[in-house]
Assembly symmetry: C2
């Protein structure tokens, strides 16, 4: 499916932008690492909020393994559960009523927990196939296979999966998709299919909130919502109690729960975000509006930077009505999924210009594609868009 992207073809450029120079006037080309989706862009917002939002936790608190011993998810801090429900209600991106909320050490742990829970829910002698339409999140294959589990294994591109096999499978539905930002639906729709909706990017700064998602297993993470990737807090919204119990069991065996400090801080952060969306509120800038504005600026700069460069293509996205903002909005994905000219190893071209990206090959596509993080710090992003126009078709031809 990688090739079906709608691409904007730009024209060749004759403009040459000078390299950065250091204080001695020498060429100095600093390395720009946009391989990971490290969401440091959000630091600027949280610096504005400043010390108002410090977590303070005394030495004698949260010693116990347990947060809520009588609940299904016994290690979930009640305050975090409340704030998760509140932010979903405020944003309108997911149904949480009568659903089980499970906290995880990032959504990575929850993906594994879901694979464990779903694959052990079916009575299958062979490992259950894990599939996702390409381009798919580069970690899915590795996460599925690193322990060589007999419960589940990576199969590959869902477009190539034979739905008539009548075997159970787990389809990862990542929407908006990592790496390419597209809105997705399940595509196999086989009789024994199980679905995991990875909704890490279904927040108003990236895309239109078109409905309150209501799927069997939905995964979210503070990393991509608020930028606090270092906290390692994700959550699952799960319909079926047995699946929820098994996911909890996985996290119990894997890490005996999830850091209380991180949960309490995430609860504070989410509370602040919900508060910032409450109108009228003059004290705190609306988090999603602020972040969306930043994303819009970055995407404009990116498109300008490659506008006259025939080497690069980036998809255009249709405008959609966003229930959260109440207006038609553009899509500003957390990653740019850049296609180079046919036959060009795009990652290599960028690397030649000291820009680290992730090759399309890692996402089940051709080497002509790369994924580039749009969530870096301002100075890094500015360097990137400044350097982009200096990369020419000729660089690619040298490969």
């Amino acid at each position: 499916m990688c090739g079906k992207l709608q691409v904007v073809t730009s024209k060749a450029s004759s403009v040459s932008v000078p390299e950065d120079r250091d204080s001695n006037g020498h060429h100095h080309v600093p390395l720009i690492n946009l391989d990971h989706g490290d969401p440091t862009m959000y630091e600027s917002y949280w610096k504005e909020i400043g010390q108002n939002l410090s977590l303070e936790i005394p030495g004698f608190e949260s010693l116990s393994y347990f947060s809520n011993p009588k609940k299904l998810c016994w290690f979930l801090e009640p305050k975090l559960e409340d704030q998760i429900k509140k932010v979903h209600e405020k944003v309108g991106n997911a149904i949480t009523e009568n659903r089980h909320i499970i906290v995880g050490t990032g959504s990575s742990q929850l993906i594994l927990a879901a694979l464990f829970a779903l694959s052990t829910s079916v009575n299958e002698p062979n490992p259950v196939s894990v599939i996702c339409r390409a381009p798919y999140y580069s970690s899915y294959p590795e996460m599925s296979d690193f322990l060589k589990s007999k419960l589940f294994e990576w199969w590959g591109d869902a477009d190539l999966f034979d739905k008539d096999k009548n075997e159970p499978y787990i389809e990862m539905v990542t929407s908006p998709n990592n790496p390419d930002g597209t809105i997705r639906q399940p595509i196999v729709n086989g009789p024994k299919g199980m679905l995991v909706h990875d909704l890490a990017y279904y927040w108003p700064q990236y895309t239109a909130i078109t409905s309150s998602a209501d799927h069997d297993v939905m995964l979210f993470t503070v990393s991509k919502c608020t930028g606090h990737a270092g906290s390692r807090i994700g959550w699952a919204v799960v319909r079926d109690e047995n699946v929820a119990r098994k996911m909890v069991k996985f996290i119990e065996i894997n890490t005996i729960g999830v850091s209380k400090e991180a949960q309490l801080r995430a609860a504070n952060i989410l509370e602040m975000i919900s508060l910032s969306c409450t109108q009228p509120n003059t004290r705190i800038p609306n988090f999603f509006k602020h972040s969306r504005h930043l994303m819009a600026q970055r995407w404009t700069k990116l498109r300008e930077a490659i506008n006259n460069n025939s080497l690069f293509h980036v998809a255009k996205f249709p405008k959609q009505y966003c229930n959260f903002s109440g207006e038609f909005v553009e899509t500003y994905p957390a990653f740019a999924w850049i296609k180079c000219k046919d036959g060009v190893d795009c990652e290599k071209v960028f690397k030649g210009h000291k820009i680290l990206t992730r090759s399309g090959v890692r996402f089940g596509c051709e080497a002509e594609y790369v994924r580039v993080s749009m969530l870096s710090r301002d100075d890094e992003f500015e360097l990137f868009v400044k350097r982009l126009p200096t990369i020419h078709v000729e660089d690619a031809n040298l490969n």
Copy 2:
């Protein structure tokens, strides 16, 4: 090996202690849960320290996935690494010089990381056997097998393992041992054996520090050292760089690192503990001395409570010279490993008196044994030792 414990046989009792009564004079027997090793005993110390030891972390800090991008363990906070090394130096229980420190989401994650790293270090078509002498930590079998990995699998009691098979195996050496508090060495010593030393309880409140441990893979956790189980912070001290790299890789795929908040708090807590051991220091009570004193009191009370009860037996431990305290000290394990009279289902007897314990069966032993946490809160422990003398041989005979 379960039966080889040196046991103290007590005499039959004829004393009957009245049940607790509620304010209306009715019998009221509250449930006492000593199944888990939840270290809430330590709350009292940290309350004494009080607000002096609050972690404060502003909203704009620690957003990135990375703590130390250029280091092997790129998600380890430098301050935590420093404080881990400092506390080991202060206590003298482990060599950390020229070793790799790896932080994990509790030592559970590190056990799995070690199984992954060691099993993928050998080129073996079959799953590598995981073994441990019985009684062994009840979670080892489940942790080894829950994902049905083709890399490693639980084999069982190391005493029954045929070392002449000339196959690779991983022996868990838990010392002091969970559940029985004994000091352990590797026992198979086969040519292709790999060792994981689980030293969660090798701290001065539980046992004599007889030497600075120096093994290939050593695991520790704040849960059992300081009582902060809710933080989910453990660490590994690893000699071999390749093994360390693979452990880091495991944590990267499993949870993309470890919560920064929890790491920063653990660093503060460990710093305070090291400081408390620095003489002369009148401001902060010496943590290990204080905790050892509590453990000693509890063990005295436990032994008194079962002294005249022929139903229960608890091992005695030899006194050993402790380098840390500079004196001969007793052993005060974090769990009491209680043996009932032959043929008695000990967990059932306790359950009949509304005391939850963990059956010896879970540790690879007979149902005559139970593991009882010695680390509960004061009120719970007092209830326990008060109720113990009310349990009689006759209760067991009713089974």
